[in-house]
Amino acid sequence: MSAADNSQGITPMLAEIREGIAQGRVPARIFNDQEIFDLERRKLFGKAWCFLAHESEIPRPGDYVTRSIADNSIIVARDEHGNICAHLNMCRHRGNMMCKSEMGNASHFRCSYHGWVYKNSGELVGVPYFKEGYDTRLDRKQWGLVEVRTESYAGLVFGTLDPQAPSLDEYLGGFQFYLDIYLKQGLGGSEVHGPPDHWVAETDWKICAENFSGDGYHTPVAHQFGFHLGYFPSSGATHSEGWAVHIPGKGHSIGLGHTPGMPPFFGYPDDLVEQMHESLSPQQLEVFSKTRTAVGSVFPNLSFLIQPFSLVPGEPGVRFCTMRLWHPLGPGRMEMWSWCLVPKGASDEYKEEAYKAYTLAFGQAGTFEQDDFENWTKVTRAAGGSLAQGLEFPYVMGLDRPPLEDWPGPGHAVSPYVTDTNFRNLWGTWADYLARED
């Protein structure tokens, strides 16, 4: 009997699922299942560090955006003193949503129901008819907005609903080395280029998270027209080359695709490459200079991709960087959030070119984005079928491959680029969270 054809509920099966993952088997049903989703909401998204915003989205005092962790709406704001803070987007009086706009600037938030007013740092200050209605019964200090713990790395603001969670630094566990390819593109770091695109997709968030944990395997097939038309500087003959790295037990992964003969840092402007020699370590330079495609994920649902892409087929590629959040809405249903990151210190011309390349490949109507969601939606639908409930998928690629001994970066690194090694770590970490006692 497989690990997934049990009708007794998913929780008793988690030990069996974990054992299967270690042996290279993952149940199909996890990609579209109400019980799994309910567990994820409580045990995974209620405990992990989850991405909220990039600091460049709220650069000035009073700037705010609204984001989510699982089914909780969160206000991420920069207060009047310049500090970044996050609060549950819910008035403490009767629970109304405080900020209905996705982004804005406000020194104070005023509830549209009964008019309670909060500072953008969360303290309750204004209560209509305070003297006439409440006498002395309401202590405003006790009724501020509910604070969400935040920490940042290189411009990324994360939040956790778990007060006992380890520090973000410990949570990332060395993956910062690889995140820097996206976040330290030059001395000024990275910034968002405009607001994010976002849309709802009938796709399970985990399928996307797995793909962006380094699935170089699908690229020559799912995106074959990108190859054939000359947009993407890789070849099916060599596309397996490169490396896959993950942080054991943490779930963070990256795939580093390599094209033989491609010049170092191909697709970046020269001045940016010079800056990277200062913003990155020698070990990072060694890895990143050889990288054509860097596709990686911070567990559980924040991903990045950097690669050259040609604006005109056959012409030299332009490096673009996308950051994406696979926000779960329900089993088999998600909201896709997609940003373009650009190097802050780059020329406006390069930023615009990079944004065009991002839009062409990974905007909502981008060629690669369309290719992916067509496949991912079909996978999701199939995984919810009754017969699929008892099926498993093979995750045995690279199962016996030892890690590279001379790899210059942290984590478990293997070669080639095409392997399931990262995915076994991803699903093992995911199952560990779901199996933990509350």
Binding site: H81, A106, G115, W116, V117, V125, G126, Y129, E132
Partner: protein, 96 residues
């Protein structure tokens, strides 16, 4: 004003017509603007008003129907207030 008290509306006779822009007769003299300052919680229309002998800044809240005209000394005073000053104002009159 007591904490949580309601602001007094401008008397109807002193208020512009709903939807009227800065050319309403309540504002005397030439003016620059209007500039709209708005977020999801409030919106105000700001204009520079030239009086016979000087100028003021007109701040008009059409939804609330209130307005204030501040001279340079008052605006200068605003320029060195701490954010907490405005918080204290909202504490006294949250503006339901």
């Amino acid at each position: 004003m007591e904490p949580g008290a309601m602001p007094q509306e401008t008397p109807a006779s002193d208020r512009p017509e709903a939807g009227a822009l800065i050319t309403d007769p309540h504002v005397a003299g030439d003016q620059d603007g209007p500039i709209v300052i708005a977020n999801e919680f409030a919106d105000v229309i700001v204009s520079r008003v030239r009086t016979r002998n000087g100028m003021r800044l007109d701040i008009w809240s059409p939804r609330r129907g209130t307005r204030v005209q501040l001279d340079a000394v008052e605006l200068d005073c605003l320029s060195y207030q701490e954010p907490e000053t405005f918080t204290a104002m909202l504490e006294r009159t949250p503006g339901a």
